[in-house]
């Protein structure tokens, strides 16, 4: 009895693994991109394509003009290794009201003292503390896609 059972199970396993019962191979998917080329190029979703070289951030450049009202200005210099955490805020060591004069840096905007409910605090509001959430360093890179956006007259 036991022998018979083992034989049946073994036969079952062989049958299941040896023959691909469910795929007949006729309507196999050739491409899953639909022939559309994206920013990745014309690459299958499942393939890994060659990565772009890392863009470099110039050490220092002139302040970059804003494109629209309320745009957080871009950071015109490197920020490698700058610590912004519970203990220290390297950005504010130059851009705070206290230090900006000495360091010849741009002051942070007064809007940064405003809390969510509109009250003005005596120091930078927690919701504005993590500078790099809104202000990003500008790498030396060409735009990835064309763009015809024009700033309003007052910013030009």
């Amino acid at each position: 009895m036991k022998k018979l059972l083992t034989a049946i199970i073994a036969a079952g396993i062989v049958a299941l693994t040896a023959s691909p019962v469910w795929s007949d191979g006729s309507d196999e998917l050739v491409s899953n991109t639909g022939g559309v080329s994206s920013l990745r190029g014309l690459v299958e979703i499942s393939d890994i394509n060659k990565s772009e070289p890392m863009k470099r951030v110039p050490r220092d450049q002139q302040p970059i003009d804003r494109n629209y009202v309320q745009q957080p200005p871009l950071v015109p210099h490197t920020t490698r290794g700058y610590q912004v955490n519970l203990n220290a805020n390297k950005c504010l060591s130059c851009h705070s009201f206290k230090n900006a004069g000495d360091m010849g840096a741009t002051k942070i905007s007064v809007t940064h003292f405003e809390a969510r409910d509109g009250t003005t605090l005596s120091d930078v509001s927690p919701r504005r503390y993590f500078c790099l959430q809104c202000h990003v360093t500008q790498a030396d890179a060409k735009p990835l896609v064309g763009n015809t956006f024009q700033p309003v007259d007052s910013l030009r």
Partner: protein
Amino acid sequence: MLNLLKRLWLVMKSPSSAAMGFILILGFTGGIIFWGGFNMGMEATNSEEFCAGCHAPIVKEIKETIHYSNRSGVRAICSDCHVPHNWTDKIVRKVQASKELVAFAMGTISTQEKFEERRGYLANREWHRMKENDSQECRNCHEFDFMDFSEQGARSVKQHSTALASGEKTCVDCHKGIAHQLPNMEGIEGW
């Protein structure tokens, strides 16, 4: 026993040329072994693994910084910044460092929490030390006289050509946290 000592004394008192040579050789080799061992000890206690034994969290952090990995592949290790090169200063620092052994036995920074707690105090001592010696350790590698302002960024030049050049400030006054995570900076000048 006493006899043996007496005999030895006699031999020593009346130096034959052979005994003289023997003593000289003994002194010479002894000297070499002592000096070599001493310097080896000084070298061994300068290695990063040695520091890592007690400062594991710090060694982990440093891997993200410019002094661990950079375009030129030149590294600064713990002792480059924390042990003076000058021989006498070095001995003084090593003797001071023996105090760290006591602190180690007391476990002042034996856990991450205790370390975080004490970090502000330790960092302040290190800043103070470097302020006193005009950031000598930094200058061993970065010499002001050889800084090419045309190669530096505008912000660097602005500070280096003024406050640094005039001697009003020294490297660690401006470059805090260059190699480590900073402690709470509230109340520290310039922060």
